[in-house]
């Protein structure tokens, strides 16, 4: 474990302080700040927005599947398992042709007269990226959160209902609080997977400004063989992930107490 996980991690942090001439210092971070600050902010906002969106979408669907168990909901639930098994590179290629200015979505909208194909929706940006992430991550979060909801006994819901609680209250006061830990797990997993995703941003908005730091890392390595700045960017992504990891640990510790 030490060799396979700890060592690469430590080495990556250490090398982020070594510049291309082999000197020790903060040069890589200075360059990161100079060139990639925008991309860092972009990555953070994409990640944050999509984590919240995935969690909210997944909770809504999970609540629906928990409370309405019929043929339709069962069919939906099984269809929504599909995206979990589809790799990001396939999702990216799919989104690429679906969201393109003259892609499937825009052509369809133009056919029914909603948009003008001369001025199509531009979706190779934050919006399209978010659509792709939601497509892939809501089902994933749903799997975890729905599992948690299944564990909650019907009697709690019935008791609240007979005491006169509205549906919204049942969700807000019973289901979500009782399922907090699996929601938290879903949020942490979705968040860290979005920070680290390369293919989807690369294939949708690779050359654009701003882009995500994973694309920048590939650029530094591919064109400059500059592992210093690449590692510095990597460390920045660890820090981004650390935010949620710390929150997760704190909550777990509090629960344990």
């Amino acid at each position: 474990m030490l060799l396979m996980y700890a060592w690469p991690f430590i080495a990556s942090v250490a090398r982020s302080f070594v510049d291309q001439d082999g000197r020790f210092g903060f040069g890589n971070y200075a360059k990161t700040g100079q060139l990639y600050l925008k991309d860092l902010a972009f990555t953070f906002s994409v990640t944050l927005f999509n984590t919240v969106a995935a969690a909210a979408g997944a909770i809504l669907l999970a609540v629906y599947f928990r409370l309405r168990q019929n043929a339709v909901s069962r069919l939906m639930a099984s269809l929504l398992k599909l995206p979990i098994f589809i790799p990001f590179v396939v999702v990216a290629q799919m989104m690429n042709s679906f969201l393109a200015p003259h892609g499937l979505l825009n052509t369809a909208l133009a056919q029914i007269g909603l948009i003008d194909l001369e001025r199509p929706l531009q979706l190779f940006n934050f919006a399209g990226l978010s659509f792709g992430f939601s497509w892939k991550q809501i089902p994933f979060a749903l799997l975890i959160i729905h599992g948690g909801f299944q564990m909650i006994d019907n009697s709690y819901i019935e008791a609240a209902r007979s005491a006169g609680a509205s549906l919204a209250k049942v969700v807000w006061r019973i289901l979500i609080p009782m399922n907090k830990s699996s929601i938290l797990v879903a949020v942490v997993l979705v968040y860290s997977s979005i920070v680290g995703t390369f293919t989807l941003p690369y294939m949708l908005i690779g050359g654009k400004v701003p882009t995500t730091i994973t694309v920048d890392i590939a650029h530094r390595v591919g064109y400059f063989r500059d592992f210093g700045v690449a590692n510095a960017l990597g460390v920045c992504s660890y820090v981004l992930v650390l935010v949620t990891a710390a929150y997760y640990l704190r909550t777990k510790l509090r629960e344990a107490r």
């Binding site: 003259h102 199509p120 690369y202 050359g207 063989r225």
Partner: protein, 385 residues
Amino acid sequence: MRNRVLVLLLATCLVMGVFATGKGEAPKTRLIYMTAGDVNMLALGQNVLGPGFQEKFPNVIVTTIHTGPGNAGSQMILEKLQAEQAAGKKTGDVDVAMVHEIFMNWALQKDLLLSYAKQAETWKYVTSPFAKMSLGVNIEGYGIPMFHSQTALAYNPDQVKNPPKSYAELKEWVKQNPGKFGYNGIKGGASGVSFVMGWVYAATGKYQKYAITGPFDKAEVASWEPAFKELKEFNKNVVITAGNVGTLDGLNRGEIWMGPVWVDMFFTFMNEGKLNPKTRMIVPDPGMPGQPMYFVIPKNAPNPELARKFIEYVTSPAVQARDIVIKFNWYPGIDGSFLKGAIPQETYDKIYRDVTPQDLSKKGLSFPLADYYSAVLESYEKWAQ
């Protein structure tokens, strides 16, 4: 039941193994061909060049080893040869290698290559300036280009009646047609990188210094700021596409009317029906970069004679025509005029219609020297974003 199937399977493997090895012929010579580049380079070696050579030389087995795309792939070959040199290995493992331009500089500095090219029978067909100089270094005699790939601006003649003939005209065109020119920036593939290199050549007029003679001069970099500021303005009216393929797809779907592409990808897409057949190409003045890939023989190659025969085979007009031009849509590594009889006139006209041999020799530029290359990319990130 399952066990029986397993036993049967194993037995079959065993029998096949015995047959495969036990033919009892004279031992065959193994020719190790190591290639950098994308997976198409592996396919070329494994499915086309290897079998073709084995047919002519039945006592040889060509083994293709693939190291990966881009300069990184060439770097892996370099590391292998350097390690053998450092270990003092008189006879190495690699017979022939297929490498990028930058490799030539690295390998010649370390004295890793055999000077074989002028003894090759096919050297007489080689006229490309890329066979003499690579990124500012004299490499004559050490490599023969297998193919040349070039970038150009592709456009749809229905919408673009008079394509811009230079970068200056392109700037005007983009102002008049906002959102109709697309390229993939510098992080989405090399056609965009090539476009930006051409931009710098056009803006500075210093192609000779940046790509041929050198030397690297840090003061030059600061002088690029206005050019990149202008590129930033230019970018406001263009679409940044999703990669080399994204530009071609955008052209095909009519989202953009013009954009830089790799010529070989352009023809491959066209042949596969993925690109509007009306699409044409033009190389704007002062030109756009392209690059060859070279055959080299390491100094410690186990079978240098055979390696040269292999290279002679691939650089012969017949194979250049059939495999390099017709199958893989590259420009030949040898002079195109020797191919005239070997490829159908139709194909010849197609590949040289828009980008003529004269265009290639005049406007088929090199990428800049390594230091300038990095400096251009970083300046783009600093000033044009």
